[in-house]
Amino acid sequence: MSVSVRSTILSQFEQVAREQNRKLAPLSDDLVLMDSGLDSLCFAIVVARLEDALGFDPFGATEDARFPVTLGDFIAFYEDAAK
C-alpha cells in the first residue's frame, strides 16, 4: 500500500508541475515543499487529485494539526492516513 501511495503522490507532483509549466526540484524526502517549484495553487490541485486517486483527504481527517513541511512529511501524512 505505502509504495503505491508514494508513487501516486510523486506522479501527481510531476503531472501538476507539467500542466502548470513549473520547474520541479529533484524530489527527495527532505525537500521543503515550498521550495519544490510548486506554488499554493499547484499544491491545492495535487491534494484534490490525490483525494480522487486515493479516496481520502488526510487534511480533512487528521487529528494531528501540523501541516507537512517537507515532501517526506507530506508522503508520511498520506501513508499514515491510508493505514
Binding site: 515550498m34 499544491f43 491534494v47 484534490a48 487529485r49 480522487d52 480533512g60 494539526a65 501541516f67 507537512p68
Partner: protein, 468 residues
C-alpha cells in the same frame, strides 16, 4: 481608543506622546515615523494637494504608505489604487473619482495621458522639511472592491469608518508590532496599516517579491507581535518551514472561510497566541471577530447591536449595519450599497448548525480560490466550447491549501457518450483542460473534471447551482 479621534493619519504619527521609535519596514528599507513627521517623501509641498482629489498609484507598498500619512487630511479625497489595477481602467477611475492630482512612484510616461492633472512623485526617501503646522480636515478615502470582473468598482470610506474600533477588549491597542500578509493597498491590509499607526505601533510590510519563508524570517527579526492574513496565507506559512520564526501574541485570519483544521494548526504552532478569525470586506467593513478557537460564528453574535455593529441573515446571506461600512459606491450607475435600513448585503451565505453560523459559499456561486474569485459561468463557457460537451457545472470543492478549488462536472452529448470506451475519457479531459489553460487564469482552471450522466436543471432551465 482615544487615538481614533485623530482627524488624520498625520496627527496619529506626529503625536508627541507616541513618538518613541516607530518604524514601517519593507523588504528593502525602513522609515522611522518621527523622521517622516519632520520631513517629506513627496516631490512637492503637501500644500499643493490641498483640497484635491488625489490618486495614489504606486509600484511599492511603502511609498503608498508614506504618501497616505502625509496627504490624509490635506486632500479632499484619496483614491488608493490596488497593486493589480489594470492601467487601461485608469481613465475611467480618474473620471469617476474626479481625480485632479496623481501621486506615484512610477515615471509619468508609464502611466499615460492625464490631461489637466498634477503629477507628483513619491518615494521611500524622507527629505527634512521645515515644520509646518498645517490645517487638516477629514479626507474621503476611496477604495477598490475586490473580486469584480470588468471595470473596477470603488467605494467611499472615511478614516473613521476604516479605523473605528471594534471591541476586542483592548488587546489590539498599544505599541504593538504589526505585520500582515496582505498588501496595504487593499482593505484587509489597510486595516492593519491604520491599526498599527493609530494604535502607536510599528508595521512590517509584506513584499510580492519575497518568499513566504523569507517574509516570516524578516517579520521575526522585527519581533512582530500581531500578524494577519487569509487562511491561505497562513497555510502557506505553516508549510514554509519558517512558521516558528515568528512568535506572535495575536494571529488573525480573514478574507476566506477559516475552517477548524487551520484554526487547530495555528493553535498548535502558536500555543501562546490569540487565534482570531474575522469577517471584513471593503464594502461592509469589519463585521466581527471570533476568538474562541472554533470555526463559524456563535449564533448570539446575530440579531442585536454589538458595539455598534449589527449582523443579520436575510435570504440566506449575511447583512451588516455598522459605522464601519462604506458610505456608498462611487459613480452614478452603481446600485445602492446600503439597503433602506442601512444594511450591506455581503453576498456570503450562512448556514446555522449546532448553535453556530458557518459560511457555505457566495451568492451566485462565486468561488474563492486562495483569495482570488472565480465566476463559475466564465469557466463553464470555456468548457462548453468543446464540441463533445453538452453542458457543464463548475463548482467549488473544499481544499486544505487554498480554501476552495474549482472542479467541473460535465455531461457529454448523448450520441457521442454512448459509444465511448472509458479510456478515451482521459484524452477528452486533457483536451478540455488544455482549452481552459489557454483561455483562463490558472486559478480558474478546474483541478478535476468528472463526467456525469446528467446535471440537475431548475424549472427556469438553468443548471442548478449549490447556494445560488
Amino acid at each position: 481608543m482615544p487615538q481614533n479621534d485623530a482627524v488624520s493619519l498625520g496627527d496619529a504619527v506626529s503625536d508627541p506622546a507616541r513618538r518613541s521609535r516607530r518604524f514601517i519596514w519593507s523588504a528593502e528599507t525602513q522609515v522611522a515615523l518621527d523622521e517622516l513627521a519632520a520631513g517629506s517623501s513627496l516631490g512637492c509641498r503637501v500644500e499643493v494637494l490641498r483640497g484635491r482629489s488625489v490618486l495614489i498609484l504606486t509600484r511599492d507598498q511603502l511609498t503608498a504608505a508614506l504618501a497616505l500619512i502625509q496627504i490624509d487630511g490635506v486632500a479632499r479625497r484619496l483614491i488608493l489604487c490596488p497593486p493589480d489595477l489594470a492601467i487601461e481602467h485608469l481613465p475611467l477611475v480618474m473620471a469617476t473619482a474626479q481625480v485632479d492630482a496623481v501621486v506615484s512612484d512610477y515615471a509619468r510616461a508609464d502611466i499615460g495621458a492625464m490631461d489637466g492633472t498634477h503629477f507628483i512623485t513619491c518615494s521611500a526617501r524622507i527629505t527634512p522639511t521645515a515644520a509646518v503646522r498645517d490645517e487638516r480636515a477629514a479626507s474621503e478615502w476611496i477604495l477598490f472592491t475586490s473580486g469584480t470582473s470588468g471595470p473596477p468598482k470603488m467605494v467611499l470610506h472615511t478614516l473613521g469608518s476604516l479605523a473605528g474600533a471594534i471591541h476586542t477588549g483592548g488587546r489590539l491597542a498599544g505599541a504593538n508590532i504589526w505585520s500582515t500578509f496582505y498588501d496595504i493597498r487593499r482593505y484587509g491590509g489597510l486595516q492593519i496599516f491604520l491599526r498599527a499607526l493609530m494604535g502607536g505601533g510599528s508595521l512590517a510590510l509584506s513584499s510580492a517579491a519575497e518568499s513566504t519563508a523569507d517574509f516570516l524570517i524578516r517579520a521575526g527579526s522585527h519581533a512582530v507581535t500581531h500578524m494577519t492574513g487569509t487562511p491561505s496565507h497562513w497555510r502557506r506559512a505553516l508549510m514554509s518551514g519558517a512558521a516558528p520564526r515568528i512568535l506572535p501574541q495575536y494571529v488573525r485570519l480573514s478574507g476566506e472561510i477559516a475552517d477548524q483544521a487551520i484554526l487547530d494548526s495555528l493553535r498548535a504552532e502558536y500555543p501562546l497566541a490569540t487565534i482570531a478569525h474575522a469577517f471584513a470586506s471593503t464594502e461592509a467593513g469589519v463585521g466581527f471577530e471570533v476568538e474562541d478557537g472554533l470555526a463559524g460564528i456563535p449564533a448570539n453574535y446575530l440579531g442585536h447591536s454589538n458595539h455598534g455593529v449589527e449582523l443579520k441573515v436575510e435570504d440566506g446571506s449575511l447583512r451588516i449595519r455598522s459605522p464601519r461600512t462604506a458610505r456608498r459606491y462611487l459613480g452614478n450607475e452603481s446600485a445602492p450599497l446600503l439597503d433602506a435600513e442601512g444594511f450591506v448585503d455581503t453576498g456570503d451565505i450562512l448556514e446555522l448548525h449546532d448553535g453556530r453560523y458557518h459560511f457555505s459559499g457566495r451568492r451566485g456561486g462565486i468561488i474563492n480560490v486562495g483569495g482570488l474569485k472565480v465566476h463559475p459561468e466564465e469557466v463553464e463557457a470555456v468548457i462548453n466550447r468543446h464540441p463533445r460537451v453538452q453542458m457543464s457545472l463548475v463548482r467549488s470543492r473544499k481544499n486544505p491549501v487554498t480554501g476552495a478549488i474549482v472542479v467541473a462536472e460535465i455531461v457529454l452529448k448523448p450520441e457521442l457518450a454512448a459509444a465511448e470506451p472509458a479510456g478515451e475519457n482521459a484524452a477528452l479531459k486533457t483536451e478540455i483542460l488544455e482549452n481552459c489553460h489557454r483561455a483562463l487564469a490558472a486559478h480558474k482552471v478546474p483541478a478535476a473534471i468528472r463526467i456525469v450522466p446528467s446535471l440537475e436543471v431548475t424549472p427556469s432551465g438553468k443548471v442548478a447551482r449549490p447556494n445560488a
